[in-house]
Amino acid sequence: MNWGVMSAYVQYLLSGIVIGSIYAMVALGFYVMWSAVRAVNFAHGDTLMLGAVIAVALSWAGIPLVFGIPLAIGCAVIFGMFIERFAVRPLNHGSSSIGWMLSTIAIGLMLESFVTVTFGSDPRSLPSPLMDTPINILGAGIFLHELLIPIAAIGLLIALDGFYKRTMIGRAMRAVAQNPIAAGLMGIDVQRMALISFGVAGALGAFTGILAAPIIQVSASMGVLLGLKGFLVAIIAGMSNARGIVITGFAYGIFERFVEGFGNTSMREVLGFGVMILLLLIFPKGIFAPQEIKKV
């Protein structure tokens, strides 16, 4: 193997880990929502978009990112809570109901359209001071900012783990996830936990969107595919296992970049989605989910 091929492979691997970390972080948002209410904001991808767009718009308006980023995340938290209260809660009746899926898709459509009209349809990017000079790793170039993203994904994983295991509110959320009725009887405010979960997912989403903004173009439609792939990553890993979700996200990102490297973007989507469907058929409960016994 010659040096050029080698460095191309390293490049695929590195940029695969970067994009995979973004999928993983989106998937963690789905995981947080699903854990609380067995339903999600199907348009969670639009939360990423919302965060990134607000951050970009504020920075273009001359407001420093130090203020812009918290403001954007704050908006996303409110958006997430709004979705839970008005789009998910009224329509979430049991495992077979899909009303919440359609209502969140509808709100996502409205948000995308609203942003297209107000923000403009041309993609913009968020400048990052860490995007100036690439670092050379085995002949592959990568920006410092890109390296931040996998670190952020793993950091989030550890933070979530700590939150669910060590804080009172995190434990309460896990109890709600396992049995909302019993949790309610123990005095846990189930609806408040759901609201908080969606708020946390909103913050996660906006954070991810802002972090990704310097390397992907910011536009109204940036969240659609990211959201869908994040959801696929989450269900293939098995919704209930955060660590598995991050591993699956990385793996999917790397797989995508290699396919793209050898083929093109269309082939990336075709093979990527094809493999995802196949994996879901082989592991219907997810790769990292514990085996359950079927009962009548």
Partner: protein, 608 residues
């Protein structure tokens, strides 16, 4: 005959639609408007197919645009590159759609709900990307242009000719769509959506129903896509995006899923609305999202669905106010003739040998061997967690034995599924009554007749004479069964509206619709009053006298003593006693299992 019978209403509706289709080309001002009408009919085709999926089996596909694209590109490629004639291209489109339908249905074996929706979205995106990337065949983002006019063999059709073709196909598809919904096939699909377990206990294979529904929805979408290619004469990837899939789904929900007319209304509104939306300029997509949200929140049953439920409420108000349940069972010669077991076999009807069932490390049943005599009442009792319900599930095909064999009429049924077991004469009721709650009382029973129909799919869809004869016969038998359990007055009521005790009766009547050789009753007396239990005892005795074998899981000791011929006692998954009620009652092991230790006889079970 009621004035507003369903059949009559439908004939009127169909005639009105036919009339509209004939008049439409005469009233529209120009070819452009006629093309809009044609587009509407093509959308209506997709929506009707999707309606079978969403409305009957309650599965959501957000990849319908992918199948639609498949049909369109099949025509595009085969006409432009290979100059195939219309019948060949349409035929190919249909065959490909059937294949895709089967492939898409496969995931439903494992996943439902939102997971399935995501699989269909991914499918749609795969199709779109293949179309973009496979440039040599599909023309990439530019698409395929210069698709020739449709030609039925008498030269290329002009706009009016194409209109007639599409209108004809749409109208036939509409009739078939209706005939499917209101047939045993539609009922079976609807039943599966509401309770898979109950449907399979009545001999319906849920997976088959879902595959069937997927195939129909795919064929409708494929034909629509093919017609679209002939209409537009140009196809490109933009027409088949995810948002088109959403629009197709919105058509179904807006019109009213599961209704005959809903998909037409939904398609109509969403074909004309883009013209209205022009006024909103760049806010179009926003209004579209708002419309979707409004439908989901304000009109979840859709337009026709909402009208239907008003009509239903109105009719139930005008119906006789006094609905009363009659005492049951009401034995009659007809019902006796229907239920009487004809076989002269004297061997035990059901035998298990060394039946063992393990869940992971837990042994739920261990080496259970028992014999059930024909036309007897065999009770299975035991403390909570003894394995009684596991036993019923194993006998009725819901669980596969880890080891050991179950025989029904000397046939090994251990490897059969619950629906196969049901079709050879064994059915059951459930501990938590499993009715098809959104269906009427009468329909609940008709579902049980599913495997007894002789009219095939063709006879049913085309409404051949045999179909009506058979429906009438089954209608009469259904009413007889309802009369037998004293629920005749409630025939048109929704099952979920019945009182608890009446739901139990209905579940038993439904099981009897299968005219089973063996009936498994899982705690039929739980929650019933004393008077109701006495009626249940009378029913069990009556069924026994007709030669029906009963296997009874029950806690109610008085009832077991009163009706059982044989009692098997389970504890921790093992048989600890077996014999006549009197023998079992005095068995010290049984008393120990129930009370923890041997106690003086005055505390034996009967005094409880």
């Amino acid at each position: 005959m009621k004035f507003f019978s369903h059949q009559r209403l439908f004939l009127i509706t169909a005639s009105v639609i036919a009339l509209c289709l004939i008049i439409a080309p005469l009233v529209v001002q120009n070819n452009f408007q006629l093309r809009v009408v044609m587009l509407f009919m093509i959308y209506a085709l997709v929506a009707m197919g999707l309606n079978i999926l969403v409305g009957l089996v309650s599965l959501v596909s957000l990849g319908q645009a992918g199948i639609y694209a498949l049909g369109a590109y099949t025509v595009g490629v085969l006409t432009v590159k290979y100059s195939w004639p219309l019948f060949a291209t349409m035929g190919t489109a249909i065959v490909l759609s059937v294949i895709v339908g089967v492939v898409l249905a496969y995931p439903t074996v494992r996943v439902r709900g939102v997971y399935l929706a995501v699989v269909t979205i991914a499918f749609g995106l795969i199709v779109q990307n293949v179309v973009i990337d496979w440039r040599t065949v599909t023309g990439g983002t530019l698409g395929i242009s210069n698709i020739p006019r449709a030609d039925l063999g008498f030269g290329p059709l002009d706009t009016t000719g194409l209109y007639a073709l599409i209108a004809g196909i749409m109208f036939v598809a509409f009739l078939l769509h209706h005939n499917l919904i209101y047939s045993r096939y539609g009922r079976a699909m609807h039943a599966v959506a509401q309770s898979e377990t109950a449907a399979s206990s009545l001999g319906i294979n849920p997976a088959n129903q879902r595959v069937f529904a997927f195939v129909i929805s795919a064929v409708y979408a494929g034909i629509a896509g093919a017609l679209y290619a002939y209409l537009n004469r140009y196809v490109n990837p933009d027409t088949f995006s995810f948002s088109d899939s959403i629009r197709f789904l919105l058509m179904v929900i807006l019109g009213g899923s599961g209704t005959t007319l809903g998909p037409l209304i939904g398609a109509g509104i969403l074909t004309w609305i883009p013209n209205l939306l022009q006024a909103f300029g760049k806010w179009q997509l926003f209004v579209y999202g708002a419309l979707l949200a409004a439908v989901i929140f304000l009109l979840p049953k859709g337009i026709i669905g909402t009208l239907n439920s008003w009509l239903r409420a109105l009719m139930s108000r005008s119906r006789n106010q006094q609905q009363s349940a009659e005492p049951w069972p009401k034995a009659s010669d007809q019902i006796a003739g229907f239920l009487r077991s004809q076989d002269q076999n004297r061997e035990p009807i059901m035998v298990t040998s060394e039946l063992t069932i393990k869940f992971g490390g837990l042994t739920a049943l261990s080496n259970v061997s028992l014999q059930v005599e024909r036309a007897s009442v065999h009770a299975i009792i035991g403390p909570n967690g003894a394995g009684k319900t596991t036993m019923l599930n194993a006998l009725s095909g819901f669980y596969k034995p880890t080891s050991g064999v179950v025989y029904l009429n000397q046939q090994d049924i251990s490897s059969l599924t619950s629906d196969q077991v049901a079709r050879i004469g064994l059915t059951r009721t459930f501990q938590n009554t499993e009715l098809f709650s959104e269906m009427s009382v009468k329909e609940n029973i008709v579902v049980a007749f599913n495997s007894r129909y002789k009219t095939g799919i063709l006879g049913t869809l085309l409404r051949l004479p045999g179909y009506f004869r058979e429906e009438n016969k089954i209608d009469i038998q259904t009413v007889q069964l309802l009369d037998y359990v004293g629920l005749k007055d409630f025939a048109d009521e929704l099952a979920k509206n019945l009182a608890f005790g009446h739901q139990r009766r209905l579940e038993i009547a439904r099981a009897l619709g299968l005219s089973p050789q063996i009936l498994l009753l899982d705690e039929p007396a739980a929650g019933l009053t004393h008077a109701e239990i006495d009626e249940l005892i009378a029913l069990i005795r009556d069924l026994k006298s007709l030669g029906v074998t009963i296997i009874l899981v029950e806690h109610h000791v008085d009832m077991i003593m009163a009706v059982s011929d044989h009692v098997t006692v389970l504890d921790y998954g093992e048989v600890i006693a077996s014999g006549t009620p009197a023998q079992v009652r005095d068995d010290p092991r049984v008393i120990e299992a129930y009370f923890g230790a041997v106690v003086p006889t005055e505390f034996s079970m009967e005094s409880k």
